[in-house]
């Protein structure tokens, strides 16, 4: 029997990092997202309660708050690391092993990075920072 030499194994730090981002993103999505959908996606549009994004002035003024900006950055960008990971593995589960390759990883996690950058850009450009 021929002994196959085993490659020296080492921790996959990239996997570790992306998993960590995945788990944090999942947590933020779980805790924060439903209430946004309920209020901004259902109650607001149906006119059941007043909601801050229903009017330009309330919306723009709250968007100027730096804490709100930071919050929105977390709310939007972190979950995308979660989504990227899940969708990549969804493809694997559906029989697309190519989703495991490095290019696929670059594509999916790259997309999450792009969304992050986009979010930063949007938050910077929409409302000037104001503390009032």
């Amino acid at each position: 029997m021929s002994a196959k030499p085993k490659a020296v194994q080492k921790p996959a730090l990239a996997h570790l990092f992306w998993w960590f981002m995945f788990s944090q993103g999942g947590l933020f999505a779980a805790v924060l997202l439903p209430v946004h959908i309920v209020v901004q996606g259902i109650l607001g549009p149906l006119g059941i309660v007043p909601v801050v994004d229903r009017h330009y002035d309330t919306w723009i003024s709250i968007l100027g708050n730096p804490i709100v900006k930071l919050y929105l950055l977390v709310l939007i960008s972190l979950p995308f690391f979660h989504f990227a990971h899940r969708l990549r593995y969804l493809l694997v589960d559906l029989g697309v092993p190519a989703a495991k390759t490095v290019p696929a990883q670059a594509g999916f996690y790259g997309a999450a990075v792009v969304v992050t950058l986009l979010t930063i850009y949007v938050l910077f450009t929409t409302a000037p920072i104001s503390l009032g």
Partner: protein, 246 residues
Amino acid sequence: MAEKRITVRATRFDPAKDSEPRLQSYDIPFSDDSMVVLDALNYIKSHVDGSLSYRWSCRMGICGSCGMTVNGTPKLTCSAFLRDYWPGSITITPLNNFPIVRDLVVDMEDFMEKLKSIKPWIIRKQEMPLGAGEHRQTMEQIDDFRQFSQCINCMLCYAACPVYGLDDKFLGPAAIALARRYNLDSRDQGTKERLPVIAHSDGVWECSFVGECSVVCPKGVDPAKAIQQTKLDTSVRFILPYGNRE
């Protein structure tokens, strides 16, 4: 009273003769309410067809050799009662996700290699001499790893894990649970040595937390928990600045 009978279908495969597995049907007496699926197989082997091959030994759910797929679910056949299936029939196939050697016997060499790779033994920087007696360990410290030490290597979890089914390079539930068993043992100092295998790209990260491994585990090991905890501990260890201490 008419004798109760039950229909058992079992996978047959002889690599020398068959190009692929087929099912063979047997109609056997269900004579005692205490009969388990393994008893049905033993009846067939003793009285109907001596060539049916499968593994078993302890018939008390501890040796881990009798795992098969019963009506689609991985089971220890010595602990699965016929009365739970009767009057329906049962279909016994080999454990999923493993190469079939013969009939209901699968090839588990892959696991044996993986088991060895996680260094399932106590690793210490400095061995304590025997004369110094035992390491002190409290029951509370045992509680930390007890659950993960209950694994009987029955392979039901591997058969239930689609990630392993899709790609058998994945280290898999039981091996990781056992690695965690040692990592959490107060006597062990080998966490760092096991990291390269556990945190390897074929290690914990491949698990997408399907969780079926823990559902089918007959010993309550909860390998899904072991894996997710390992992911968290490992990533915290590397990402947070204070995480990398011993």
